[in-house]
Symmetry: C2
Subunit: 219 residues, 2 copies
């Protein structure tokens, strides 16, 4: 499903060049949950952003379902981000002045989901993260862990082909973390989707098919 | 140092009343690191906000070093927040367009710290979280874990009497988490300060003097 070769990412700033990723190779096949671990600053979020076409690499190739996605035009890349990928960001990125319901509805609207089928999808996603009792709450009135769970539900509500989750359980206790993994495993059960999870939590990594470790930009 | 009795916090919204904290009692003595654990949504951040005078309780009393802090006027409360407390927020709250150095300098400026002694304090704090190599980096160009470590350093650079840390290691790997705990233990070594840490991480809780658990607003 995903094939990345020779991925390199550099930033230039006043002080010189920072090489965040060096010649990274990665393959992800449908039906897998793979974990990416590594110390703070090792390049995990950068790798995930590149996989989600949120950031261009400096060098390297990236093929998704056989298609060279780095050569897509702006519109093709936006289309990819909207339909193929569900992204869970490391820091909260819900719409603070919208309700939980609205936050989950937006991706469905963008994906052109029929008005009739939206409510059922939203409520099912909320059920999977135990937040049905907060459906009409304002997003800025949620606890840190509740926001994170809504962010996960939002990435999954569209049933994308690949889920890229950047430390989706960082704010969660044990039970809620396990529930997120249950949700991921349900999603991949059809064998057509895959999940890439960046995590520091060994309990999460233990439930993944494979674990890769990034150190100083090397996988 | 801290004595809280009968602390209750309620929110009213369209649907009714949500009781987040119910009749909470807590004591913290100098030289302690106490852990507060509990499921997502149990009221941990709310308790910490009240302790930091960032949020008023609905009911209850709060005495700090013998002084009734709930009866302080706005200026007294601002004074308290600036000098007595170091707060580490659950979500990133650095100044994104400032450098790491500037982010650490602001609390020192507000506390009236002499210009001559600031650089040494800033560099010492950064050293404790292993981020000397990012001192002049823009805050919005840091990784998630780097931001969290800068936020911890910023809460500690002023050497406050009490540190209130809301899940300070949520984004961190094992080694960096342990380093944060080393930093906290160094701070309390003088026996005059205390730390209250909200955490989900059992490894962090294991290094605390005591562990309290919040469930549905009850401690
Ligand atoms: N301003 C508000 N209005 C209404 N409800 C609120 C408000 N702030 C928080 N809540 C609710 O209060 C409860 C407790 O919130 P709090 O942030 O203290 O939880 P927490 O224990 O820190 O959780 P987490 O581990 O997820 O960070 C949550 O269920 C949340 O939805
Ligand atoms: N825009 C940028 N300009 C300069 N340096 C950057 C930029 N973005 C990230 N970096 C640097 O690249 C390195 C890797 O960042 P990245 O966010 O990928 O790390 P990470 O592995 O996700 O870390 P964490 O576990 O702390 O979230 C960091 O050291 C960071 O300081
Ligand atoms: Mg990251
Ligand atoms: Mg919280």
């Amino acid at each position: 499903l995903i094939e990345v070769r020779g991925l390199t990412k550099e930033y230039r700033n006043g002080a010189g060049v920072i090489t965040v990723l060096r010649d990274v190779n990665l393959q992800v096949t449908p039906g897998e949950i793979i974990a990416i671990m590594g110390p703070s600053g090792s390049g995990k979020s950068t790798l995930l952003y590149i996989l989600g076409l949120l950031l261009p690499p400096t060098l390297g190739s990236y093929t998704f379902a056989g298609q060279d996605v780095l050569s897509l035009d702006r519109r093709g890349q936006a289309e990819f981000r909207r339909h193929k990928v569900g992204f869970v960001f490391q820091s909260c990125d819900l719409l603070e002045n919208s309700t939980v319901y609205e936050n989950l509805e937006f991706p469905l609207i963008y994906a052109g989901e029929d008005r009739q089928t939206r409510p059922a999808k939203i409520l099912a996603a909320l059920e999977r993260v135990n937040l049905s009792h907060r459906v009409y709450h304002n997003a800025n009135h949620l606890s840190g862990g509740e926001k994170q769970r809504v962010a996960v539900a939002r990435a999954l509500v569209n049933e994308p082909r690949v889920i890229l989750a950047d430390e989706p359980t960082g704010q969660l206790d044990h039970d809620n973390s396990q529930q997120i993994m249950d949700y991921f495993q349900k999603i991949i059960a059809t064998g057509e989707t895959a999940v890439v999870v960046v995590t520091h939590d060994p309990e999460i990594a233990a439930r993944c098919s494979r674990i890769h470790t990034l150190r100083d930009g090397l996988l």
